[in-house]
Symmetry: C2
Subunit: 430 residues, 2 copies
């Protein structure tokens, strides 16, 4: 961007960007691009949930959803979750309102009680136990394993998924690595979809790592496609079963970003051995999940076709917002070669790679001008992005108009941070 500029020209450019930025600050914006929240228009698509029951609370098998029972979820919801996760209904359980809770509970169970019986409890193994984290990734995943005392190891993501050479080398060397966090489709925050080869390598990794290794497969964006010919993710549970390592795959998903954020239904799929062990743990703390809400969801979404139709309506709201963000990035920064960003075909985030060492400065500048961004580093374990480069952008919640006001602030902040650094470097060399 600033290559070949004289010191004077660079200084003039910095002054121009500063002036531009000051005028943006005067607009008094208060915009938030931090969290992957659906917009009001998106959640309103599911207001029909509240009429979906129509006073009929009977399941197909005659069970009254308003009463106790059903630890693993109602059969109808388990079938829906199985379609969503690409698993068999008997391998799929339907829970409460948060797949994150299933993830925590599953790992807590593996650590406390053992994933496949008391003699397999991780807490009795020599430590420190470790967990692999694909980075940039989802902070709440990392926090779960951190809270359970795991040491977290970064593995970088590439175009087709995690760097599998590195994953394989780490796992081969260290039996204390108990698993890995993955968001395999429209990965949070980069938007990557794991390639067929990566999924296949995971299955073989699982076989080699042995029965105590767990691939935490958070398929949060399984059906969150922007177009009608979306990328297809290979089924990890099938591949692990074929490789003789079915106990290593644990799949998660929910309707949180299909219907209501925080009032949907969570799903988990795993081998029968995993599920029967996990069910004992669940049964200690609950009689069962909210079956009425599960039934409400099944009546409203019906089946995979119903979900697809619903997600097309979601896409018509979300896709234009991603396009608008990309438009601002392309128009404002593409010619500079300063930074790069992902172009997801679905999901909730896109990922911006700032010039190394500038992410925190950019987030700080944007904040000064009233545009709140996910804190730099938040997409890494311990909040530590060694390159200080990744910034997660979440386009779903703001309106198009808000994106049009926020993105010039972001683009200007990037250019200004880069100009200031270049000017500082030039001064240091002068």
């Amino acid at each position: 961007m600033f290559d070949g500029l004289s010191h004077e020209a660079l200084a003039a450019r910095e002054r121009a960007l500063s002036a531009q930025f000051e005028s943006l600050k005067k607009a008094g914006l208060a915009l938030d691009l931090t969290r992957g929240k659906p917009s009001p228009e998106q959640v309103a698509l599911s207001d029909g949930l509240d009429e979906a029951l129509g006073g009929d609370y009977r399941l197909d098998d005659g069970t009254d959803a308003r009463n106790y029972g059903g630890l693993l979820g109602i059969p109808e919801a388990r079938r829906l979750g199985a379609e969503l996760l690409g698993a068999r209904p008997e391998e799929t359980i339907a829970g409460g309102n948060a797949s994150l809770t299933f993830m925590y509970q599953y790992l807590l169970h593996a650590w406390l009680n053992g994933p496949l019986g008391p003699e397999t409890a991780w807490r009795h193994e020599p430590g420190p136990l470790k967990f692999l984290c694909v980075v940039p990734g989802y902070d709440r995943h990392f926090t779960i394993t951190e809270s359970l005392g795991f040491e977290l190891l970064d593995v970088p993501i590439r175009d087709g998924g995690p760097d599998m050479d590195e994953v394989e080398a780490l796992v081969a060397d260290d039996p204390r690595i108990k698993g890995i966090w993955c968001v395999p489709k429209y990965s949070n925050p980069t938007g990557h979809v794991y390639s067929d080869e990566v999924v296949e390598r995971f299955a073989h990794l699982a076989r080699r790592a042995g029965p105590g290794f767990r691939i935490m497969w958070d398929n949060a964006y399984a059906v969150h496609d922007f177009d009608d010919a979306p990328p297809v993710l290979v089924n990890l549970l099938d591949r692990c079963r074929a490789a003789g390592a079915e106990d290593s795959a644990v799949l998660f998903g929910s309707t949180s970003k299909i219907t209501r954020a925080g009032a949907g239904v969570a799903f988990m799929a795993a081998s029968p051995a995993n599920l029967s062990s996990f069910a004992k743990h669940l049964g200690v703390q609950t009689i069962g999940p909210d079956k009425v809400n599960q039934l409400r969801h099944v009546r409203f979404l019906r089946d995979a076709d119903g979900i697809r139709a619903h997600m097309r309506r979601q896409a018509s709201i979300v896709r234009p917002k991603f396009e608008r963000v990309l438009h601002h990035l392309d128009a404002g920064l593409a010619s500079d070669g300063l930074a790069s960003w992902s172009r997801p075909r679905g999901g909730y985030f896109l990922s911006f790679e700032a010039p190394e060492g500038l992410a925190a400065a950019i987030v700080g500048l944007a904040g000064e001008a009233g545009v709140k961004l996910t804190p730099a580093g938040a997409t890494f374990p311990y909040g530590r992005d060694r390159r200080d480069s990744n910034i997660r952008l979440a386009p779903t919640y703001p309106s198009l108009d808000e994106i049009d006001r926020a993105m010039p602030v972001f683009v200007t902040a990037v250019a200004l941070a880069a100009a200031r650094r270049r000017l500082g470097q030039a001064a240091a060399h002068a």
Copy 2:
């Protein structure tokens, strides 16, 4: 019952009871008096929940209940839960569909992370850790502490609550006792209400036991009164605060047996120090509870007066069933002096004390005749009733007609088991 009978008369009586029992068996009953489930008529009282939102998802503070956020519950639900538990709204949190989950999570947190910070984590204390269980009591409580590795100690319940002399002596002697399980109002299964003196003694016990001791106060039947002048339970949190031991009281409740079993809202109340520590643990595994269901409940129940009115409708269904069970017990067994039973003024259970050593036999006989009872011993830790005497009766789910068919089986089973034993004893002495 059989005192003064000759051997022949006793044998004749046994034959008569056996014949009566055989004819009851021929009726081919399939009745279930096991679980504390509300009846279909009771849950139908809350079908208005599904119209309660009326398309309006806004909280008083403008928050959209359909989106993420609100770890500790919506303010409206916290206020409702505070009224229910007799706590302050800021001391009360509203969660998912199960207070049992709050109980598990709270104790897990105390054990894993420490109730008041990492240096207070129970798992780092010298073991074996122990927990007091008021017996007969609620099996799911006992299972929670058992699953976390606690050794469980029985404390018998008396008319006004647990035997506090014994509780005080045990706790004074053993710092490894970390707490006690209590159902203070209409105790499961005896129906006792803890007296003012017992609650006061708990508060002073807490002060003496120190900041690591926890009274798990499951007020599941707080508003489940049969009449309009119900017994009043003294507020434990207030008493503990007055005694300088507010961190020791942890209160639980839910709408599971007010609105829908398994699709209600759970509440927990505790000191600010407890709550802020616990909130960190909750925040690792969830973004927040189902706010839509919380709002639905607040709109439907409104406030304490709304709950009271609703519970009067519940009582009009439940009370006659208790009366009918008592009628059968009184008519069939009172004159014999063989057994005793409680006469609760609310709640979900009544408790039957069979002649010592006969509970399992009675449950077995009733089962042969198609009347399923809670397994003998289930109301004790490890399923072990040393006296083999307590049987829990749950009158809420069956209809009056089903009670009229089930109770003669029960009454006959009690008399038959007693007659057979007496006959065996007589034979042994002959």
